[in-house]
């Protein structure tokens, strides 16, 4: 059925206006578009929606080679206990540690990693030699194109306790070698620094675009009024990119429970597991290596649901402020 809107005109007559088109008309006109959409929709249904069926494993006793439907519900002392594995997860010190580390590392990443691209963009904006600026940009984007395996290998050489370049420099300057990778606290610092290093250049792209969108007349007017470099930076550039900063900050807060796998997995080592184990690596170890599926599915579901909550909150705040959310 086409959408129908009814209006009443001045004489009290009803006027029926058809808006939009019917499904039949749409198919007739756009059948080729539906054809094009077949593959992407099949992809979404199979690889994004079907996995949701398996979430039920979190509430069941997993049996190998048994269809999902026939698997018995989780039981404690022969009593059905749907949330058995959630309770187990929260009694599991390894999981609690991973949860703590996930939040801690994400927060530290945010605190150190979020301002870095903004500061870098402000610095780049002050450069007046176009060619030089371009070269610096190209160099700063480079770390983004390295895989975490490679970054972890670079880090392990640069920060090695005995012969790493950084410690050799410290020794040269008269300091004592620091165990950057073997000491859990220092490892966290190195991990966060590697994140900043990898992302500050790439992250600045978006701020540079925002800065480019600022009306240049503002700068000229400020110059006439005698504003110096930092005054202009503070009173024009920063307010100009404030909306971008706010949206990105809120959206980043939304990912506080998230967490990639490749970075912590590549960078962790056995000496620092108390700080390096995060949820994603915990799920890999306990789920895929030790095959404890219900427990790790429960952990994953917990992470997804809390993540969803944070994201929706972030998105709502972002929209309230009049900015675009991610949908």
């Amino acid at each position: 059925m086409a959408k129908v809107k009814t209006y009443t005109d001045d004489n009290g007559n009803n006027i029926i206006v058809k808006t939009g088109i019917t499904w039949g008309q749409s198919f007739k006109k756009y059948w080729q578009l539906y054809l094009l959409l077949l593959l992407p929709i099949a992809y979404l249904l199979i690889f994004k929606y079907t996995p949701m069926r398996y979430i039920v494993v979190a509430f069941k006793e997993y049996k190998l080679n048994m269809p999902l439907k026939e698997m018995p519900w989780a039981t404690t002392n022969k009593q059905v206990d749907y949330f058995k594995y959630f309770k187990k997860a929260f009694q599991n010190p390894d999981f609690l540690r991973a949860l703590r580390n996930t939040v801690k590392l994400n927060l530290l990443d945010l605190i150190c990693g979020f301002p870095a691209p903004i500061i870098f963009a402000l610095i780049l904006n002050e450069l007046c030699f176009k060619r030089f600026k371009k070269v610096v940009q190209t160099i700063a984007y480079m770390p983004h194109f390295l895989s975490w395996v490679i970054i972890a290998s670079l880090v392990s050489h640069l920060f090695a306790t005995n012969d790493g370049l950084v410690n050799q420099m410290i020794n040269y300057l008269g300091g004592e070698s620091i165990s950057f990778l073997g000491d859990p606290t220092n490892w966290v610092r190195t991990y966060v620094a590697a994140g900043v290093w990898q992302n500050f250049g790439w992250g600045s792209i978006i701020y540079l675009a925002a800065i480019a969108g600022i009306n240049t007349e503002l700068y000229e007017a400020a110059s006439v009024d005698g504003a110096g470099r930092f005054k202009k930076m503070w009173h024009i550039t920063l307010p100009g990119i404030k909306p971008t900063i706010v949206v990105l900050l809120i959206m980043n807060l939304g990912y506080i429970m998230g967490g990639g796998f490749e970075r912590p997995f590549a960078m962790k080592n056995n000496l620092v597991m108390e700080n390096a184990e995060v949820i994603s690596t915990f799920v890999y170890k306990v789920g895929i290596q030790q095959l404890k599926f219900p427990l790790t599915t429960a952990v994953g579901l917990f992470q997804s649901v809390v993540g969803l909550f944070f994201l929706l909150t972030a998105n709502t705040i972002s929209r309230k402020l009049g900015e675009r959310g991610i949908w």
């Binding site: 756009y30 080729q32 593959l39 992809y43 390295l146 395996v149 640069l158 971008t244 949908w327």
Partner: protein, 291 residues
């Protein structure tokens, strides 16, 4: 032309110096890696290699480049990257193009379907169990199909498509061109920048990715992408086994050899990305622009 005051000149110089320092911090790790890959063993053992090779030799590269295992992994990963990029670009265009038609029935529903996937992920284990049920474990297709459409990239392409004037499409439609023809003859040729940008994103993602291979492929080692091979070598996973398998006689590799291996896996991307800078900047920016 205004004459700059001395304080402005000093300020300019300070910012130039800061940028040089930042650039050095970005480059030094790579220089150190390159220097190690080109240095002689005796200098490496004595920790004398910083950012310039000592005892210059190409032995490590000769070993790596002539090793059939590396050649194979390189060719396989390059092939995988090419296939993934082409497939992903196709899927992205197939998804993005129909969604720009405001009157398409069901468009709202599809948008909701897409949006949900951006907010909620079933999790690692449900995905793993699905791959298992689809018989994709230990199957090279698992490195291609499950990640063949990124919603973020689709949104970038869609906002680029939105920027193409409707009048172009409408006049072609009046001339009797079908929708598919319009996509092929008008939208894709006009969208080269966004295709270049997304091709780079997809290609880098595949070239650098190893998590999926780590989870889904355990025994079929011939399907390991380069980065996973690298991870196993650098972390001495089953040192003896890997060394024997990868064609090195002694367990534990020489430092220069490891460095050369890392260079071997890095250089292709480092050679490509500077030339696509204009495009990926546009791509990143577009992802953030209001629709």
């Amino acid at each position: 032309m205004k004459v700059k005051s001395t304080s402005t000149k000093i300020g300019d110089a300070v910012f130039v110096i800061i940028c040089i320092l930042i650039s050095i911090i970005c480059i030094v790790p790579m220089l150190n890696l390159a220097a190690r890959s080109l240095s002689g063993t005796e200098f490496l053992i004595r920790h004398e290699v910083y950012i310039w090779p000592k005892g210059f030799n190409l032995e490590a590269y000769q070993t790596v480049l002539s090793d059939p295992k590396y050649q194979r992994a390189f060719v396989w990963t390059a092939f995988l990257t090419l296939v993934c990029t082409l497939l992903s670009l196709t899927m992205t265009a197939l998804c993005a193009y129909p969604l720009i038609f405001p009157k398409l029935k069901g468009r709202g529903f599809i948008n909701v379907l897409i949006t949900i996937t951006m907010f909620f992920n079933a999790g690692t284990i449900p995905n793993y169990l699905l791959m298992s049920d689809l018989h994709l474990l230990e199957n090279p297709l698992v490195l291609i199909i499950p990640a063949c459409l990124s919603i973020y990239n689709m949104i970038i392409m869609r906002s680029f498509f939105y920027g193409i004037p409707d009048s172009l499409r409408e006049s072609a439609e009046i001339d009797g061109a079908s929708h598919i023809k319009v996509l092929w003859k008008i939208y894709i040729p006009l969208s080269k920048p966004v295709f270049a940008s997304l091709a780079l994103f997809y290609a880098v993602g595949r070239w650098n990715g190893y998590g999926d291979a780590l989870m889904y492929i355990k025994t079929q080692k011939q399907y390991f992408p380069l980065q996973l091979l690298l991870y196993n070598i650098l972390n001495n996973v089953n040192a003896v086994e890997v060394a024997a398998q990868e064609g090195f006689m002694q367990p534990g590799l020489k430092d220069s050899l490891k460095a050369a291996t890392v260079m071997f896996a890095t250089v292709p991307i480092l050679l490509i990305y500077p030339w696509l800078q204009r495009y990926f900047i546009a791509g990143v920016t577009m992802g953030a622009v209001k629709e």
